[in-house]
């Protein structure tokens, strides 16, 4: 299936503030884009501090970054599935999942699988063009951080996290589907 070349793919923004665990906080992570500049990166030239690396860069350099484990995270583009990280997810402090457009819902599956199948327990961050009204779904799929790049204030956004108090399905936030919780004898 034809894929747009990575070089043309839209890059996520990395706003100064974001929502983390239900509060507005400063963004302490730097995002390395996956554009052509990524090809020249090496462990030696990589900036210091906390970095979110494109998957390909991380795969290339991970062996040389073992002493920086707590400050090296990965961001997945929407066509990069959770199994590409697999069990390695557990070694990471942060995984970000890119939503190039809000209609691109692949990241919902990616988030759920990282949490439910690969046991990822660190910060799971939504980046890119998701929208406010997707927050409750995103959080059900395991996202606990939202680097929102739209127009609304983060305080407004927080309200949408609480749109639903009840749900039918099992998901990351709810270990059992409703049919197991209805108290059927």
């Amino acid at each position: 299936m034809p894929k747009p070349a990575k070089a043309q793919a839209p890059q996520p923004e990395n706003p100064q503030q974001l929502i983390l665990d239900g509060a507005v906080v400063n963004n302490e992570w730097h995002l390395i884009p996956s554009d052509e500049s990524a090809a020249d990166l090496s462990a030696a030239t990589l900036a210091s501090g906390r970095l979110m690396l494109p998957l390909a860069v991380w795969q290339e350099l991970r062996g040389e970054l073992t002493d920086r484990k707590s400050e090296i995270g990965v961001w997945l583009d929407s066509d990069e599935t959770a199994d590409l990280l697999g069990e390695a997810a557990c070694e990471l402090p942060l995984i970000a999942v890119h939503f190039p457009a809000f209609a691109d819902g692949r990241g919902f599956t990616t988030g759920r699988l990282l949490r439910e199948r690969y046991g990822f327990a660190g910060e799971l961050r939504a980046i890119g063009n998701f929208m406010r009204d997707q927050l409750s779904y995103l959080s059900r799929c395991g996202f606990n951080a939202f680097a929102y790049q739209g127009d609304q204030s983060l305080e407004e956004l927080l309200k949408s996290l609480r749109d639903f108090s009840q749900s039918y399905q099992a998901a990351v936030d709810q270990p059992e589907p409703l049919f197991r919780r209805r108290g059927l004898a």
Partner: protein, 553 residues
Amino acid sequence: MYRYDDRDRTIISERVAQFRDQTARYLAGELSEEEFLPLRLQNGLYIQRLAPMLRVAIPYGLLNSAQLRRLARISRDYDKGYAHFTTRQNLQFNWPQLEDVPAILAELAEVEMHAVQTSGNCIRNTTSDPYAGVARDEIADPRPYCELIRQWSTFHPEFAFLPRKFKIAVNGAQADRAAIRVHDIGVQIVEQDGEIGFAIYVGGGQGRTPVIAERIREFLPEEDLLSYLEAIVRVYNQLGRRDNKYKARIKILVKALGAEEFAARVEREWEQIRDGVDRLTPEALTWAKSFFTAPEYKVLDSTDSDAALAAEASEDKAFARWLERNTFRHRVPGYRAVKLSTKPTGVPPGDVTDRQLEAIADLADEFSFGEARITHDQNAVLADVEQGNLKALWQAARKHGFATPNIGTLTDMICCPGGDYCSLANAKSIPVAEAIQRRFDDMDYLYDLGDLNLNISGCMNACGHHHVGHIGILGVDKKGEEFYQIQLGGSSSESASLAKVLGPSFSRAEVPDVIGRILDLYVELRHPDELFVDTYHRIGLQPFKEKVYAKAS
């Protein structure tokens, strides 16, 4: 039928509050057109050519009389006093005001209804056989499974932004009356060694690339239904194309990978989750089934009841005709299911007035345990009518315009809204339906033709199911003029097939004559008791082509 408990009510009322807020933000300019679009679509709200259109979900087509009355009231208070039954057993309001939609949703919630996921790129209303629970050829009642699927798919957090819309249908009988082979997933209930389970079909669909679904599993145990569906939709969500909306349906993915490879991927995903929490517990299955138990039928002697009915029929030819075409044999002695026709000549197929909705409610209360079903051919069914009441029901149905004895005949057509309402149309479809109904108004002729589905769509999006009509009519644009292509031989039944194009298209005025020539040839060449579609499959397209395009000499 299924009844909400507090948890269902909470979910639906929180959704109404959420949409109220979204609409307010949109109207205040805080939400862009582009952002509001998927939100309103997931609440059933389209913006159409002339006005918004609100599509209300009728889970597997089942309604009670209180819900019917509420729909009638909404159509009166917020719309122009009528509504439309769709081919996916839903109901549409054609003229609501955007500002009123949150209030309409609140009114629906009061009677345990909603418009959730009736459009948008998510899992839509699950459809089924309108004779579920009463058909003689039923293996098991599909409705408990439909309800479990409804709950599983409602606000599924992972699957609200799929590549494209996603439709599931469940059939529980030998005959497929749910068109499962033209759905993204078709679930066929089967029995194997005394165990109930499902054959699973994927990748069917209509639209501009019609495809008959492929069977990817012969037998899925009952308790694995939801985990298997989850595996299918997960594979699709990850791999379905998102670069071109015309190639985004699951049918394209299944074709691209091949059904075998697609099935293998589903099985691999399923292996990881089949023993998880989505496995249906015996309690959950018993609970779901408890909502669809038989009503309190009287114990009737079938010989007596049949004889009395035959006597009534012999005295009244009109009643006898209606009985023959518009009623359906019931598994319980002395009962029948009745189809109310929304297809009298000159009314857009599927349209009903507020008074008619109330009349269906009254008839349901009086004759059919207070429930009715909407059918995929845009009619309504009262499923549990005592044979001794049929005559009274017929008389009442006649008064309300529901007793046209044309069910299953040429004039009981499926027809999309077409150019009269729809901005995507190439051509009008409702006037074509009416012209055909006027031309073929001789009931004896229609009965002689027997079962015949004629389906009309105003463009290749195929809302009117023209690909699966025995005769399909498709509106096309020919240098800015409305033309119609004729197709033959489609079917959405268990022997599903796609119709083939007859040849060059016709002007609207020519269509009834062309249909006439096709029918003439059928009458001439059919074997005794052979239906139109069977004659077509026996003799093929060519003789029809020759007949229709023969030079007048």
